[in-house]
């Protein structure tokens, strides 16, 4: 079991470390490989270009110097001829002596005139042909200084270039001096002069439609390089030549460099396949990848070994810790290494040592503790019993006092009730007294009112008498008016008679009395009207007289009625007087009764107060005994707690002892 878990843990740490480190290592190595490949590719391409540049520069320099050294050698004979102005024999001698002067010039220098005269060394195999139509002769006519012309095929079928120039010997005749070099020789120089491994070069004469002068492939020599070439690189080169773009460039997986050869219309072309140097990149990349893989494997191995070695002491420590967790402290830990893990081992060892000491002292202490707790358990038990009996006694006492208190309380309550009843009675009789007094007041008021009424009745009777008198006066006045009206009626009758007389008199007078007759008739009418009015008034006054007689008889009737009422009122006043006297008597009786009730109330109050005091004292006694019971109970509880605690203490020390005894020390 312990071994199993240990193995598991070891695997875990290793796996964790591998999982953490491996991706980082792998990514780093991949990045390194990629970056180095890219950088190598870049720098190798740059290097190859630079190398190609330097190679072609070197080669072109070589070709230039080869050409110019040849040219100088050829010039020597030309200069001698120009300086010495030789005759034909001397000229041939000079040509003979300079034959083989230049190793590359198989036919030696020669001279030809426009007229067809030719001169060459005795050993020379130069075939002059038709002079004027010969390319070399034409070329020679175009310059004084010796220079190379374009390539051409001689009448012998050999590809040549000739260094030619006009011979300025002062003869006045056009003479061309020349010396030939074969293209094969130029090819040899070009092909052997390549300074860069795997690079190749060829020479193109751009003045002759890009004729190839020198090439590794002999079949290419003396052919033209065109943009239609089947080889895309050659086609590309032809295009560049056409554009006169001589910058080093990449064409169809080749790096191509161009260089013009000074003093000629030639362009040297040098090229190298990318694959040559990219092969190195591929090789390097492969090596890097293999190295990377090996490095990863090595790292896995190293991590494995290192981790195993580092964590092996951990195994022992783990075992010891497992033992410790099982309670075994008899183990011995050995310090195996001087690193953190070794330190851990020694610290565990120290820990085990101190644990052992600690456990044994705990053991001892717990034994002592158990003893002590047992003792205190006993003491608390006896104390509990004692307090228990005391509490019971107290309880008895308490009950007795309780009963006493109840009895006293009952007495007090009864006395109080009595006092209350008496008090209520007194209250009631007081109220009766009040009511009586109110009744007396009311009856007094009633009597006064009755008296007032009687006085009023007297007033009314007097007024009625006055009224009768006044009406009688009016009767007298209306009789006088009747007299006056009779007088008026008499006057009116007399007036009417007068008017009749007047009318008669007027009628006698005739015309003169006509006016008077009118007045007399008017007065007659007036008198008649007055008589009618007087009669009316007389009638009216008669009516008034009748009315007055009625009123007088009515007033007399009223006077008799008032007198009757007055008598009744007097009788009521007497009745009120009697009632009042009766009430006065009752009132006095009630007052007496109230005084008696007061006395009873005083006595009852006294009794209540006394019995209440007794009840209060009984309550106090009860309270005290209650208190005492409570305290006795508290003591019982406390002693119970003490007993429980000491019991628990005893249990704890038992448990402690059992725990400690589990450890092996």
């Amino acid at each position: 079991m312990a071994n199993n878990s240990k193995g598991k843990r070891q695997r875990k740490i290793k796996t964790k470390l591998l999982l953490l480190l491996l991706p980082a290592v792998v990514v780093t190595i991949i990045a390194l490989v990629v970056i180095s490949s890219i950088l190598t590719r870049q720098s190798l391409t740059e290097m190859a270009t630079a190398q190609l540049d330097s190679s072609i520069a070197n080669q072109s320099d070589n070709i230039e110097s080869w050409l110019s050294s040849n040219l100088q050698e050829f010039s020597i004979a030309k200069t001698i001829i120009e300086k010495t102005h030789p005759d034909d024999a001397a000229l041939l001698e000079i040509l003979d002596s300079t034959y083989n002067f230049n190793a590359y010039c198989k036919d030696g220098p020669y001279v030809a005139t426009a007229s067809g005269q030719t001169y060459k060394a005795a050993e020379s195999t130069k075939n002059f042909g038709g002079i004027q139509s010969e390319p070399w002769f034409k070329q020679g006519m175009t310059r004084v200084g010796l220079a190379y012309g374009s390539s051409y095929t001689s009448s012998d079928g050999v590809n040549l270039i000739s260094a030619t120039g006009l011979l300025k010997d002062g003869s006045g005749e056009v003479k061309v001096y020349g010396a030939d070099l074969t293209l094969d020789q130029v090819s040899t120089i070009v092909n052997s002069g390549v300074k860069m491994e795997s690079a190749a070069s060829f020479l193109v004469d751009i003045s002759a439609n890009n004729t190839i002068l020198a090439h590794r492939d002999p079949s290419r020599v003396a052919t033209q390089i065109t943009a239609e070439d089947s080889d895309p690189m050659m086609a590309g080169i032809a295009e560049k030549l056409q554009q006169r773009d001589y910058m080093t460039t990449a064409i169809d997986n080749y790096e191509v460099a161009f260089r013009e050869i000074e003093g000629t219309d030639w362009v040297l072309v040098s090229y190298i396949s990318n694959s040559v140097f990219l092969q190195d990149v591929a090789k390097l990349t492969n090596v890097l990848i293999i190295t990377g893989v090996i490095a990863v494997l090595l790292i896995i191995l190293i991590i494995n070994l290192t981790v195993s070695k580092v964590i092996s002491p951990l195994g022992h420590i783990t075992k010891h810790i497992t033992d410790m967790s099982n309670g075994d402290f008899t183990i011995e830990v050995n310090q195996e290494s001087n690193d953190e893990i070794g330190m851990m081992g020694s610290k565990v060892s120290e820990f085990v040592e101190s644990m052992r000491g600690m456990l044994s002292s705990i053991n001892k202490e717990s034994a002592k503790l158990k003893e002590q707790s047992n003792n205190s358990d006993k003491v608390s038990k006896s104390m509990y019993d004692a307090s228990r009996s005391q509490a019971d006694a107290m309880q008895n006492l308490n009950n007795t006092v309780d009963q006493l208190a109840v009895a006293v309380n009952e007495i007090a309550e009864n006395a109080t009730t009595l006092a209350i009843v008496v008090s209520d009675t007194r209250e009631n009789s007081n109220q009766a007294n009040e009511s009586m007094k109110e009744t007396v007041e009311i009856s007094k008021k009633g009597r006064a009112n009755m008296e007032h009424l009687s006085v009023a009745m007297e007033g009314i009777k007097n007024s009625n008498d006055e009224l009768v008198n006044s009406i009688n006066e009016v009767g007298k006045a209306s009789e006088e008016i009747t007299n006056i009206v009779g007088l008026i009626a008499e006057i009116a009758d007399e007036t009417n008679l007068l008017s009749l007389n007047a009318s008669i008199e007027a009628a006698r007078a005739g015309e003169a009395g006509k006016g008077f007759a009118v007045v007399a008739s008017e007065i007659g009418k007036l008198a008649q009207n007055s008589a009618a009015s007087a009669e009316n008034i007389s009638n009216l006054i008669n009516d008034v007289g009748k009315a007055i007689n009625n009123v007088v008889s009515q007033a007399e009737l009223s006077a008799r009625n008032i007198e009757a009422n007055s008598d009744l009122i007097h009788a009521a006043v007497d009745t009120f007087d009697q009632i009042y006297q009766n009430i006065e008597k009752s009132n006095e009786l009630i007052d007496l009764m109230i005084q008696d009730v007061q006395k009873v109330d005083d006595v009852a109050s006294n009794v209540a107060a006394i019995s209440q005091e007794q009840a209060a004292s009984a309550d106090e006694i009860l309270e005290t005994s209650h208190h005492m019971v409570e305290q006795a109970n508290n003591i019982t509880l406390s002693s119970q707690d003490v007993a429980d605690n000491s019991h628990e203490l005893a249990n704890t020390s038992d448990t402690l002892t059992s725990y400690v005894q589990k450890f092996k020390i």
């Binding site: 175009t142 310059r143 006009l166 000074e262």
Partner: protein, 331 residues
């Protein structure tokens, strides 16, 4: 969790490495030019060279316009003096414009300049000593000169299918000779003209030597339509020879290069068909522009006339014929 974190860190590291690899290759940027505070030293070989006087005037104007400081020192044809002047410039200037006293001492000057970029003018150092955006040659594109000559003369002759031509070359081995001469040939070849070079020889820039060489040529009795000279003096010599030998200079067309006083006069007189002028002012401006760019650590790639390899800034030539000769006539 921790594992993932570690893995991520690892991956990140790898990515950063890879990025660094790629980014390291191309970090050159080219923003708008403008040279506030830039200081440029111009080292010239000779204070008496009229070509350079014209050049410096153009450069001063350009420098002022661009807001850069341009100081000029003269080495009086001494390589040692020039080296000392360049050495002292280190730490004080941002770029050097140099007319080498001796074209073969370019490397020595580059060493003396330390990290400072150098723009060579007028005297061409060997191509091997030029370096992209560091050691740059500013000049007229020699091939243009030859091309202008061929183009003008061919047109002047009425674009014939066949041309018999004489070429008078300068000095054997001189850097300007081959480009100028080749450009003539290339032009005719490209236009499918049958170019018959009846005479091609060096006359060492000299009118007398040109005359002598033509005298020798005379003996060959070959017909010819035109004479191309690598410079004006040789063209002037050729004109003299033509006249002395009874040729009509209006029928035999002569082309020169450089637009010298005599050459320009010959063009005006109608004896020389055309000449080609180096755009001195253009060269000066191009040199200043290039110097500002390099001083600020930028590339010259975006400048007019800069080659792909960032080693040359070519300033075009100007063709001069009777139409415009008067405006280039020197006093």
């Amino acid at each position: 969790m921790k594992t993932i974190k570690r893995k991520m860190t690892g991956l990140l590291l790898v990515l950063v490495l890879i990025m660094a690899t790629f980014v390291g290759c191309g970090g050159k940027s080219s923003e708008g030019s403008g040279g506030g505070g830039t200081k440029i030293l111009m080292c010239l070989h000779d204070s008496t060279d009229t070509f350079l006087v014209t050049l410096t005037a153009a450069m001063q104007a350009k420098a002022e316009a661009a807001g850069v400081t341009l100081d000029i020192v003269f080495a009086e044809n001494s390589v040692d003096t020039q080296r000392e002047q360049i050495k002292e410039a280190v730490g004080k200037y941002d770029a050097i414009i140099c007319r080498l006293a001796d074209s073969s001492t370019a490397l020595q000057m580059e060493v003396a300049a330390g990290d400072l970029p150098i723009l060579f003018i007028n005297n061409q150092p060997d191509a091997d000593y030029l370096k992209a955006d560091k050691y740059v040659y500013v000049a007229s594109y020699e091939q243009d000169a030859g091309r202008f000559q061929a183009e003008y003369v061919w047109n002047g002759l009425g674009k014939p299918q066949s041309v018999n031509a004489i070429i008078l070359e300068g000095q054997k081995g001189h850097s300007a000779v081959a480009p100028r001469t080749n450009a003539i040939k290339y032009f005719f070849w490209e236009n499918n003209v049958d170019l018959n070079l009846v005479f091609v020889d060096f006359a060492n820039w000299s009118d007398e030597e040109a005359y002598e060489k033509l005298d020798v040529f005379k003996e060959t009795m070959q017909p010819f339509d035109c004479i191309f000279a690598n410079n004006d003096p040789m063209a002037v010599g050729a004109i003299k020879w033509l006249k002395d030998n009874g040729y009509d200079t209006h029928k035999i067309l002569v082309a020169g290069i450089d637009c010298t006083k005599d050459g320009c006069q010959a063009v005006i007189d109608g004896d020389m068909y055309m000449t080609v002028l180096q755009d001195t002012a253009g060269q000066g401006e191009a040199a200043i522009e290039g110097a500002i760019a390099l001083a600020q650590g930028k590339s010259i790639a975006d400048l007019d006339g800069a080659t792909k390899d960032c080693k040359y800034i070519w300033v075009p030539f100007v063709a001069v014929d009777q139409n415009n000769a008067a405006q280039y006539q020197q006093n």
